[in-house]
């Protein structure tokens, strides 16, 4: 469709990395509350208001969140969806009589509190020496998180809460604590990986190559006496930046490229490649898990911040998914990274939704594009998963074998959801 340029944008986040990117494109700001916008870079809260008001979005409008993204980004709902997805896959595999799903523990064993308190207590009694981590379901930046190692602590916590507090927003999840994380230089870290979803059905996923590892400032210890020390256990920048050893030059952030180089050197090239691919699978599976519950509004795109931890056996674990990853910048390279992230994300989203019209919205000095690139025009994004490719192949296969199958009277293949396969999966290079 033809669009009038320049586009109009609206945002409720006064962030440099956003505004400078809008400005660079020559887009015009439309006032708050106005409905005359083409691109709305909104906070989750604004999106909720937007969709609850039942305003009809036009074809020329694009919002930076899906209406019910919380199915993935709220800790308790994510756990529910993953558990259901896992059951579905297991059933599917059993029905088809094919090999069972591979090692499918995307997240550490997790229960919802207070709902699953009884099951949790049973599980805890089975492994009494284990450590668990409590997280409020809808808070971010490490707020309200604590570790527990004794059952009494959970019981005390539960009884101190009023019934009202425990409902809704004050609910918690409790997960087995990954007590043998991969340490580098004696320190614990987790990965922040940016993932862009343009469409849920069929699913299309891009990852941003410049993810990073976030390190704690002090050395990791399994010693329980340090259990209350957030600086040992939590990698959130919001927490670490108050530590003594925090440096504003690097901000405790290490590029994925460095991580890969380190792992290749110390664990071998093959092990490093496997890990990087497994991280890709975690992302794809967790998106597939809520593919059917997410309202696939065509006016939406969304960028998630995936938090992933690696244990000492090089198995990656999904910790949580953030709907609005921080756009504040801590260091110079952080600023550069987030500018690129937003820049290319806008390119991809706008190109997908508005077609070629977007090209003219860019000044003539814009970066050269690599047309053959899978993430065309976005050199720092790479295509991770494209379900359309799989569906196409599946359809072709079905057409071919339809006659045979009907004659033999076997069940028609390809019921939703199909487990993702290698056909649509592109192992990430991260570089």
């Amino acid at each position: 469709m033809a669009l009038h340029t320049p586009l109009r944008f609206r945002t409720d986040q006064e962030k440099y990395v956003l505004l400078s990117n809008f400005h660079k494109r020559g887009w015009l700001r439309s006032p708050d509350e106005s409905s005359e916008w083409n691109v709305f870079f909104a906070s989750p809260h604004s999106v909720k208001l937007l969709f609850s008001a039942e305003t009809r979005l036009t074809d020329a409008q694009l919002v930076s969140h899906f209406p019910n993204h919380y199915e993935l980004t709220r800790k308790d709902l994510m756990v529910k969806n993953l558990k259901r997805y896992r059951k579905e896959l297991e059933r599917l595999h059993a029905e088809r009589g094919v090999e069972p799903p591979p090692d499918f523990d995307l997240i550490p064993t997790t229960f919802l509190l207070p709902a699953d308190l009884a099951i949790f207590i049973e599980e805890f009694k089975r492994t009494p020496s284990s450590v668990w981590i409590m997280k409020p379901t809808s808070k971010s930046q490490g707020k309200g998180i604590f570790l527990i190692s004794r059952l009494a602590q959970v019981k005390r916590w539960a009884s101190s809460r009023t019934a009202q507090q425990l409902g809704g927003k004050d609910a918690y999840v409790i997960s087995r604590y990954i007590s043998d994380p991969l340490l580098i230089g004696g320190k614990k870290f987790d990965l922040r990986i940016y993932v862009l979803v343009l469409n849920y059905r069929p699913l299309k996923v891009y990852i941003f190559k410049k993810g990073f590892a976030r390190f704690t400032t002090i050395n990791y210890t399994n010693d329980f006496s340090e259990m209350d020390n957030e600086l040992v256990h939590l990698t959130n920048v919001a927490i670490q930046k108050h530590a003594d050893g925090y440096s504003a030059t690097h901000g405790g952030k290490w590029s994925l490229k460095n991580l890969r180089q380190y792992l290749e050197g110390t664990r071998g090239t093959a092990a490093a490649a496997t890990l990087m691919e497994e991280i890709g699978w975690i992302i794809v599976h967790s998106l597939k898990a809520c593919q059917n519950v997410i309202i696939n509004d065509k006016h939406c795109f969304e960028c998630y911040g995936f938090d992933i931890m690696i244990d000492n056996k090089l198995k990656p674990w999904l910790l949580e998914v953030n709907a609005s990853p921080s756009l504040s910048t801590t260091t110079a390279s952080d600023k550069m990274l987030k500018l690129q992230l937003i820049d290319e994300m806008l390119d991809l989203a706008v190109a997908q939704h508005f077609g070629d019209a977007s090209a003219s919205a860019r000044p003539a000095t814009a970066r050269r594009r690599a047309p053959a690139d899978a993430a065309g025009g976005a050199p720092h994004f790479e295509l991770l998963y494209d379900e359309a490719v799989e569906l196409e192949a599946e359809r072709a296969r079905r057409d071919e074998t339809a006659g045979v199958a009907r004659r033999k009277g076997s069940a028609p293949p390809g019921r939703w959801p199909n487990p993702p396969t290698r056909r649509g999966f592109y192992a990430p290079h991260w570089s």
Binding site: I184, G186, N219, T249, G252, W254, S255, T266, G268, T269
Partner: protein, 520 residues
């Protein structure tokens, strides 16, 4: 270990063979055929061949070239003084076949080190060594090392020392005329270097270039590397490393190249050093911590700061470094202990300098285990880096490498030299600090490691000045366009985007492109 690998290997091999011979299944066999069989089945063959290879290397280095160094432990103890731990005088292990200029340089350098150490003592008002218990007692508690305390020396001090004019006033022949190198010895020509480093020729595929362009090449190299590792014969490993080592194999290949077999003995020695770090405090500890805390590429190295700090602190306490270094030509400070004996300070005999951590940081991308990291760091220091801190006219030491750099520049980049002289910028002042750090101070980790692969494989520090010249050659156009010194400094200050292997290849491989570039 590095000194007499053969002794340990011999007894090991003998023991294994004896044990095998006693087994009942060999009862009726002829002894010599059994020995042969045991050697080949137990993988001892490669070990023996490596021992012989090493032995030959030692022989060659003892008989060939500049030799005849006097006793290693000729610490001059003549001057007497008060008791306690105190610096008496710096001493060079006696060397009597050196050029006057070199001897004078060493004396001067030793005096400077001593002076700086005394100054450090005064500023910190601390003794050279004290136990932690003492330090924690009331007497010392209030005293912390002031931030201003300076290092014993850094790379620029080495450059200054080299550049200082000869004191006897004689008109020296410094060739090339602009050079700072105080000695004149034969250095290899570019043609000789090309022949020596033929594996770096353009037509040879290299890890560090071709693996990035062609996936299959990396797989091929990895497969080849695994085969050679399984065989274990050192010369094969060396040959392999000359074309670069894939990152996944580097840890094992380097252990082989450095003849390191880490066993119980090494592990317990390292843990002894670790407890020494807690027990004894050295005056220079704070300096080493400061050195480790400020890596030049902070973004890349910050996660390793604590690890490298530990390595440095252990290293300075490791008296084996002093004992095992057969011909250390770097200056060693000597202190007099309570019992009147003269001991090197610090115990390793290596005066701590700023930039010591630079040799350790790149290794953190290869070795996650502190023990391995330590021994590889130590072996590299003893075999290579110590020579970059030694004044000598022997090949592959600071002065001769400096001379090699200047002559290559003079012969191949005359116009650049002339231009730089006009701008009052000295090429050696730019390049020597790169060379002294093994380029670890200016290149990112992956490039540094690719360079060190070749240094290890060819066993050649000459590659460092060669790379320095190659960088000048690569940036010729920009240098010639520069009209002031600041501009040149800026052009040469950021090397983080350079690719080492193609630079070496172009410089060593293609005479025509070089000369044509000069003409342009």
């Amino acid at each position: 270990m590095l000194t007499r690998p053969s002794d340990r290997h011999c007894s090991q091999v003998k023991r294994t063979v004896k044990e095998e011979l006693l087994k009942p299944r060999y009862r009726d066999a002829a002894v010599d055929s059994v020995i042969e069989e045991v050697l080949s089945t137990q993988g001892l063959e490669a070990q023996i061949r490596n021992s012989i290879y090493l032995q030959n290397l030692h022989e060659r280095s003892r008989t060939g070239g500049a030799c005849g160094l006097a006793s290693d432990h000729a610490a001059d103890a003549s001057s007497a003084g008060g008791g306690g731990t105190e610096v008496r005088r710096s001493s060079l292990r006696a060397v009597n076949d050196e050029l006057d200029a070199v001897v004078e340089l060493r004396l001067r350098w030793g005096r400077m080190l001593l002076q700086n150490l005394r100054k450090l003592c005064e500023e910190a008002s601390q003794p050279l060594m004290r136990t932690r218990a003492t330090a924690e007692s009331e007497k010392w508690r209030s005293k912390r090392m002031p931030q201003k305390c300076s290092f014993l020396y850094e790379a620029s001090d080495l450059v200054d020392a080299v550049a200082q004019p000869h004191s006897n006033g004689s008109e020296e022949v410094r060739l090339p005329a602009w050079g700072i190198s105080p000695i004149r010895v034969r250095t290899p020509t570019l043609q000789q270097l090309r022949a020596r480093f033929a594996d770096l020729a353009l037509q040879e595929r290299q890890t560090g270039v071709d693996d990035e362009l062609r996936g299959w090449f990396d797989d091929e190299r990895i497969e080849e590397g695994q085969r050679i590792l399984a065989n274990g014969y050192t010369p094969l490993l060396e040959k392999y490393a000359t074309r670069g080592v894939p990152s996944g194999l580097r840890a094992r290949v380097w252990l082989g190249l450095l003849h390191l077999q880490l066993g119980e003995r090494e592990y317990s020695h390292f843990s002894d050093l670790q407890s020494e770090v807690t027990r004894v405090l050295l005056l220079t500890d704070e300096l080493q911590k400061r050195d480790a805390a400020a890596p030049h590429l902070e973004d890349q190295y910050f996660v390793f700061v604590a690890m490298v700090e530990e390595i440095l602190l252990c290293f300075s306490r490791d008296s084996q470094v002093y004992q095992l270094s057969k011909h250390p030509q770097h200056s060693t400070l000597v202190a007099r202990g309570r019992d009147g004996r003269h001991v090197p300070f610090p115990p390793s005999g290596v005066p701590p300098f700023r930039g010591q951590s630079q040799y350790a940081f790149p290794l953190c991308f290869v070795y996650a285990q502190p023990q391995q990291l330590y021994y590889v760091y130590r072996a590299l220091w003893m075999r290579f880096w110590s020579k970059l801190h030694s004044f000598s006219s022997r090949p592959r030491t600071l002065l001769t490498l400096c001379l090699l750099f200047e002559e290559l520049m003079q012969d191949n980049l005359t116009d650049v030299c002339t231009h730089l002289m006009h701008l009052d910028v000295h090429p050696t002042a730019i390049a020597l600090p790169w060379i002294i750090s093994g380029f670890a101070a200016v290149l990112p980790a992956d490039q540094t490691l690719l360079l060190w692969d070749r240094v290890l494989g060819f066993d050649a520090l000459e590659l460092l000045p060669v790379l320095a010249v190659a960088i000048f050659s690569y940036r010729t156009k920009w240098i010639l366009q520069a009209t002031n010194a600041e501009r040149v400094q800026r052009i040469m200050s950021n090397l983080s985007s350079l690719k080492v292997v193609p630079l070496l290849q172009t410089f060593l491989g293609d005479a025509e492109s070089l000369t044509s570039r000069q003409k342009n």
